[in-house]
């Protein structure tokens, strides 16, 4: 059945896709940073210091392996669980904390829940909550790249659940028809909240869904950063050569809850989790780096210390930012406030003056 879904790197990476130890160490640093941010933010949420959080633990190799195989000019269309992408693209933790807190320092002006961010200058498009909607956007952007003859690709990120969405179907189909330079990067973390992968769809793999749209789909071990990098680099080469899109299914496991609103014990066993944790992508890469002598015990503990320090300092600084100016609510619905919005803004200001609203 899964004809088109061949393992990406049975025989090691394709020529030119090997990762040097330095490169791997850089990737490892970002992965470790991502993991530490996740852990701290889950506890910030429990303490009520941020309102919500979506952890990405378990998916670091997939995200960072993928991001590293792209150029900074490539446009990324993420969902809400893509911490690794943001960090690899150079978004600082401070910028993210500002978003999580929704203060006046937030580039998104406090408009969205934590984890739903995006930064134009990083070519990281702002995420939304509805599942799958970013997929067609990525295809449209790729059509625009074709029109502009730009040597870029678009990459879109989504989960196993999102393969059931309308936009997956439409986006894959348009990409096939117009042979767009698009990478469909599906992180199959085995769960869509409580629904296990095998009840999301009857197909043996998610990658084989590409068959329906006339382009290749590949399965890759998403805990193996080499395999991910190789698959994405290959897909990117095809895309820029005008050979069209690729669907990549990176098989991973969501280590944490779906979000801080979720209790995974209601629907899944610890046994599965333990099984997958033995393939923790961070442990795998650390072991490799230690074996090659690239990372020493000291190096590792210095790294962890530095990360811990940076996180603590950043949180403290971000928490000091002043709250957002409430009158900004009336901006950005349109480029210019309409008369109606001017009137509502004036109404709001009058209510503040009268003491009715105490923002």
């Amino acid at each position: 059945m899964a004809k088109t879904a061949r393992p990406a790197s049975e025989a090691g990476p394709r020529p030119g896709h090997e990762l040097s130890n330095d490169r791997l160490l850089a990737m490892y640093r970002v992965m470790a940073f991502a993991r530490a941010i996740d852990e701290r933010c889950l506890s910030l949420q429990r303490q009520g210091r941020i309102g919500f959080y979506v952890p990405a633990s378990g998916q670091e190799a997939a995200q960072i392996g993928c991001a590293a195989a792209l150029t900074d000019d490539d446009w990324l269309f993420p969902a809400y669980r893509e911490l690794g992408l943001a960090l690899w693209r150079g978004v600082t933790f401070r910028t993210l904390m500002d978003q999580f807190l929704g203060t006046s320092a937030d580039r998104l002006k406090g408009r969205q829940m934590p984890n739903h961010y995006g930064y134009r200058e990083r070519n990281l498009v702002v995420a939304s909550s509805p599942i799958g909607t970013q997929i067609t956007h990525a295809v449209g952007a790729a059509m625009a790249m074709q029109r502009r003859r730009a040597p870029q690709v678009s990459a879109t990120f989504f989960g196993d659940g999102a393969t059931s969405s309308n936009d997956f179907h439409a986006g894959m189909n348009f990409a096939g028809v117009y042979r767009t330079p698009t990478i469909f990067f599906c992180q199959n973390n085995q769960w869509a909240i409580s629904l296990p992968r095998e009840r999301q769809t009857r197909s043996a793999t998610l990658a084989q869904k590409a068959e329906a749209y006339g382009f290749p789909g590949v399965v890759v071990d998403g805990t193996d950063i080499h395999a991910v990098f190789d698959a994405v680099a290959t897909a990117r080469e095809r895309a820029v050569a005008g050979e069209g899109p690729t669907l990549i299914e990176a098989q991973v496991y969501r280590f944490g809850p779906h979000s801080t609103s979720d209790d995974p014990h209601r629907y899944r066993s610890d046994a599965d989790l333990a099984e997958w944790k033995r393939r923790d992508p961070i442990l795998r890469l650390r072991e490799e780096l230690q074996n090659s002598g690239t990372l020493t015990e000291t190096g590792e503990s210095e790294l962890q210390d530095a990360i811990r320090r940076e996180i603590s300092e950043t949180i403290a600084a971000a928490e000091g930012a002043p709250p957002i100016d409430p009158a900004t609510l009336f901006d950005d619905t349109f480029a210019q406030r309409t008369p109606r919005l001017e009137e509502e803004r004036a109404e709001f200001e009058r209510l503040v003056r009268e003491g009715v609203i105490r923002p």
Binding site: K109, G110, R111, H116, S129, N166, P326, E344, V356, I357
Partner: protein
């Protein structure tokens, strides 16, 4: 009678309906094993099995489309949409199919699907976990639209919805899922559609509300009472069919009206009620009809308390209409 929360009352209503009729079934994302992200369907799968409590793939199109097929065949599906904000992939099925099946077939194909969805703000849900877009559905001929504000109504209206012959959109104010508590009749409790509930009688101003705005309106009324302003609070309960008679009668008595909802103001439900009053209670109105609503922006995260109507805003509007005429 048992004391419970609003979400528990929804849960009890579902249990009761499934007990009453083997054709009732529940489908949606995470409604089975997980019991629903708000626990509204908690326990159902243990009681009634996976054939009647169906965890679906992540597709609202599929949820509503298949529910319609089941209803055409003769079952009574109750579909859950996890948040009202995520109903739009099913919008085509709802407005083009569900709402029009009976009409377009000349009455041959009734289509009694109930669609439940938590809606509204106040839980720090930001743009996509807070919206109140009941007006879209109210404007769609062929859909009934129901919004309870108390546990007893939640159960009673839900049972009426499930046994109704028409499609029903059943929107649950998630903000008060756990804060609204009250006595709920056991067993087969039903609250009829099309009858508003007078929460509190009053003389000087009529305040119309539904869902999570009802407790705020009551709070406002209490404050107004301290200054001798007597506000009548009407909980509309079913927006379609609407109890226009109750609305008009109230304004004929008080001469003043304030309409409250969380949704954006422009073309919101409040516009319809205001227009009804401007047409049918015109000669009773002593002052302009005011609307206290969300603003005409998307729903914000950090500033949700600025966006949402508050008891103070309702109170201020009531004072204005009383002062003006």
């Amino acid at each position: 009678m048992t004391e419970m929360t609003l979400v528990q009352a929804v849960n009890r209503g579902l249990f009761e309906a499934m007990r009453q009729d083997p054709d009732v079934l529940v489908l949606g994302e995470d409604v089975g094993v997980d019991g629903g992200v708000f626990r509204a369907t908690d326990g159902l799968i243990n009681a009634y099995g996976a054939e009647r409590v169906i965890d679906t793939p992540l597709s609202e199109t599929g949820i509503v489309g298949t529910a319609i097929g089941m209803a055409l065949y003769g079952l009574k599906p109750v579909a859950e949409i996890q948040f009202l904000d995520f109903i739009y992939p099913a919008f085509d099925q709802i407005v083009s199919e569900l709402a029009k099946f009976r009409f377009r077939s000349g009455g041959q194909y009734p289509c009694h699907v109930v669609i439940r969805a938590p809606y509204g703000g106040g839980i720090k849900g930001g743009v996509y976990h807070s919206q109140s877009t009941e007006a879209y559905f109210c404007h769609t001929a062929g859909l009934k639209v129901v919004i309870p504000s108390t546990p007893a109504d939640a159960k009673g209206l839900l049972l009426t919805a499930i046994h109704d012959e028409d499609p029903v959109m059943f929107f649950e104010p998630k903000r008060i899922y756990r804060t609204a508590t009250g006595e709920v009749p056991d067993g087969d409790h039903r609250v009829p559609f099309g009858q508003a509930r007078t929460v509190r009688e009053g003389e000087h101003v009529s305040i119309f509300a539904y869902g999570a705005m009802v407790p705020l309106a009551s709070e406002a009324a209490a404050a107004l009472a301290r200054d001798g302003i007597s506000a009548e609070i009407i909980d509309l309960r079913t927006l379609v069919p609407l109890d226009e008679a109750a609305a008009i009668a109230s304004v004929e008595k008080t001469g003043r009206a304030v309409v409250v909802h969380e949704a954006a103001r422009f073309c919101g439900f409040g516009a319809e009620l205001s227009a009804i009053l401007a047409e049918k209670a015109f000669y009773s109105l002593k002052s302009p009809v005011l609307r206290v609503t969300g603003y005409d922006t998307p729903f914000p995260y950090a500033l949700e308390n600025v966006y949402l109507p508050s008891a103070a805003r309702i109170e201020a509007a009531a004072r204005t209409v009383v002062r003006e005429g």
